[in-house]
């Protein structure tokens, strides 16, 4: 039986000169999953992807693909087709020749190549364009050719390096859906590098959040968004409000925390905390409510400073008595518009406890 883990990274480190770009990366990726490497530029996500493809040799640690240690394998023997950010189509070849390139190298019989290239073209909806040259196509079409060129290899794993970053917003959304569809249909393992959190959240089975060359969190999109493990993750994904708090009491599941002068609140604690420890509470703008009749365990007074209409929601910028700024999103409120002093509330389960200073 095939091992369930397709890609296994063991304590991977990479250094460029004095720059330690990958620090002790440990990651196991299961077969058939869509994994996103997420992080700002320079966080090491692309370096890790290229180390998997073999363009970089790791300075410490091991890379295992399909039960084989591949540290010493040159890129052309790794079988890890990649879609490049700039597509990297061969400008002097037709679409057909571009897609057939890898199969030609493998010396597959001509009929098989023809069949597989046609199949790949159909998958990316480019049937009929095999005679074109890359420069005769739009950016979106080029992107699809690059996809087809990787797909045609029938490799269990495909690497994508910010493949949608050169497309316009509308097209990006379209391709995102198609890409996820293809991945699920074929049961492919996809590693997808992006700095776009929306892309990461909407497509992935698992998201790996990178912070300065290390993995800050590995989890499902839901976990990443609602239960960020570090301040960095909470801050990087979406918008959030941080509240400084002190632990008064705690058990394995819950902690009683106090913030400012308000009454202490009980929150879920998924991490170990100590009595008296300074912690952060993260609460998303959409989890906060303004002047809501139901109230909530968390409650604070603030003054509306400004607001911004964003279509599906109104975003309010407020300031509490201590001078701290708050962001609250109000959805589906019709003509209601808040001004002056208001009460912000949230139920305790919306407050997510994060240990401080661990990034």
């Amino acid at each position: 039986m095939e091992p369930q883990v397709l890609l296994d990274l063991k304590n991977v480190n990479k250094v460029f000169g004095n720059n330690h770009v990958l620090r002790d990366i440990n990651l196991q990726i299961e077969r058939g999953k869509f994994i996103t490497f997420l992080g700002p530029s320079g966080c090491g996500k692309t370096t890790l992807l290229r180390s998997i493809a073999g363009f970089y040799t790791v300075d410490e640690g091991e890379v295992w693909i399909d039960g084989k240690q591949v540290n010493d394998l040159p890129p052309y023997k790794r079988g890890t087709p990649m879609v490049f950010q700039e597509y990297a189509l061969f400008p002097h070849m037709t679409v057909f020749d571009n897609i057939a390139y890898g199969l030609d190298i493998k010396k597959r019989p001509e009929e098989e190549i023809e069949k597989r290239v046609k199949g790949a073209l159909a998958q990316v909806k480019l049937t009929g364009l095999e005679g074109r040259y890359p420069h005769e196509m739009s950016g979106g079409q080029q992107q699809r050719v690059a996809m087809a060129r990787a797909l045609v290899m029938n490799s269990p794993i495909i690497l994508l390096d910010e493949p949608l970053s050169n497309l316009d917003a509308k097209l990006r959304e379209e391709v995102r859906v198609e890409l996820r569809g293809i991945q699920q249909d074929l049961g492919l393992t996809v590693i997808y590098v992006t700095h776009d959190q929306l892309e990461a959240l909407s497509m992935s089975d698992y998201v790996v959040v990178f912070n300065k060359g290390a993995i800050d969190q590995y989890g499902t999109p839901h976990e990443i968004y609602y239960e960020p493990r570090t301040q960095y993750v909470a801050d990087f994904i979406g918008t959030t409000n941080f509240i400084e708090a002190t632990v008064l009491e705690h058990n394995e599941r819950e902690a009683l925390v106090s913030y400012g002068k308000e009454t202490p609140t009980k929150v879920l604690a998924k991490v170990l905390v100590n009595k008296g420890e300074q912690v952060l509470l993260s609460v998303r703008p959409e989890s906060l409510r303004i002047n809501h009749p139901d109230g909530g365990e968390f409650c604070i007074r603030a003054t509306v400073k400004s607001s911004m209409f964003l279509g599906e929601k109104e975003r309010y910028f407020l300031e509490d008595n201590a001078g701290k700024e708050w962001i609250v999103d109000a959805y589906d409120i019709g003509q209601t518009h808040y001004t002056g002093e208001v009460v912000i509330t949230a139920s305790a389960d919306k407050l997510h406890l994060i240990k401080k200073n661990n990034d």
Binding site: D59, E60, P75, Y76, M82, E86, A88, P91, I105, K106
Partner: protein, 552 residues
Amino acid sequence: MMKEKKGTGESMKRLFKDPSSLILVLTSFIFLILFVIYPLIVVVFTSGFDNWGTFFSKPRYGKALLNTIVSSSLSALTATVVGFIYAYAINYSNIKGKKFFRFIAFIPLLAPSVMSGLAFLLLFGRGGMISQWLNSNFNIELDLYGLPGLWIVQTISYFPLAYMTITGVLRSISPNLEIAAQNLGARGFKLFRTITLKLALPGVINAFLLVAINCFADFGNPKLIGGNYSLLAVEIYGEIINNEPGLASVMGIILVIPALLVFWLQNKVLSKGSYSTITGKPVSGLKRITTSKKTDTMLFIFNSLISLFIISMFAITILYAFTKNFGRDNTFTLDHIMKVVFSSSSPAVLNSLVLSLISAVLAVAFALVLAYVIIRKPFPGKKALDFTAVLPIALPGTFVGLALIVAFSKGPIVLQGSAALIVIAMLLKQMPVGYRGLTAAFKQVDKSIEEAATNLGANSQKTLSTIVFPMLQKTVVANFVYAFMKNMNTLSTIIFLITPKWVVAAVSIFNYAETGTYYWAAAVAVGLMGATLGTLGIIKLIFRDKVKIFDF
């Protein structure tokens, strides 16, 4: 703190994991060590103390050295001045016929420089057309053999080189700067002196140095026209004929020293002192108006005179080639051409064609491999390989030929008398040019395209042949054409290497001219130009718009 794994051991390890790169790298190393480093070492050892003593004690050699310095400095100075004015007229004035003038500056490239010497003899030599005319009409005895004739011929031979170098610089000067200076009140000569000349100066100096080192080591024209005014390259030739490789090596080394100095200067000083890189974006449609009507007229007359000179040189050669004995019997004939170009007993033109083509193909292929491994592959000794690959550009052709004949006429590897040695000599001179050009082109190509090929399973050789070569095709073909033309016309590089069987056209022209059989010399020159043009035509037909050969 963790360290990046690099250094010799690590890159060795990586190389051995990728056998296809290993083969390319090893071949490059072996070839360059064998044909660049080894001959250099042999020349140094052959020179020996005794020979250095002989060289400095015999006034004859000292005089040759002095003559060489004087004549090449004078020629370089005038060639640069002529080249500058010619280029300035084409790029800065409003004269008519610019396209024609560009074409005129290009045609000397089609013929070996020794053809200029031949044509000069046909015009101004003892039996020359103009000398005779002056003699019979004005009773003037014209004797230009020695320094004056050599000076004129080398100026005309090398002004296109200066012209091309300076044109490159003038074109890189943004018109904005001159327009800005005009806007601030600078006009006429003041504008020229403070802006144009200042900005072009590094390029002008570069042109001077290039011409100087070319003249310094040139063999053909000094031997033909110099007469008793002997130069080092000519002395080397004599010593090789006398079987004195030691003395020849001493003089070879003396030829190389200034060439290496200039090479070093170009790389270090001039590249830093160049202003042309900070000129910003060129603005299209902006036209400079920097010359007055009067200046334009003067520039036009100047360029016309130079063109007239060049045209008469080619015309007289053609006249000699197609007449029985021009001046005495002007009847049209194809006899000379048939005898020295198309007869199987004189294979010089055919030899030139075959050897030049083979050498140019190999030179460009090798340059491509070198550029690829040096830019894209990690391996130890990369700097050394790069240096060795570019080094021959700095070595005068005379020296390359000398080094090869000294190194391969005895010892472990004997190649003397073989066509292979001629091909290698030509290759060594042209490969570095292609290597530089391809390196520059390579840097323009997005690395990820090659990575994509590797990613899909292509090893180094596959990537090179299926991706890199087709993508750089334009540059490859351009460099091939250049190498081919240079090979066809080289004399200095191969003069020591040819054998009766493998005589080439440029040597033939020289030999016939020396023995005074001018119509045969002219016929070979015409045949050589015909072969060059024909080949270029075929290349143009094959590649159509993909290459620009006649780019005026």
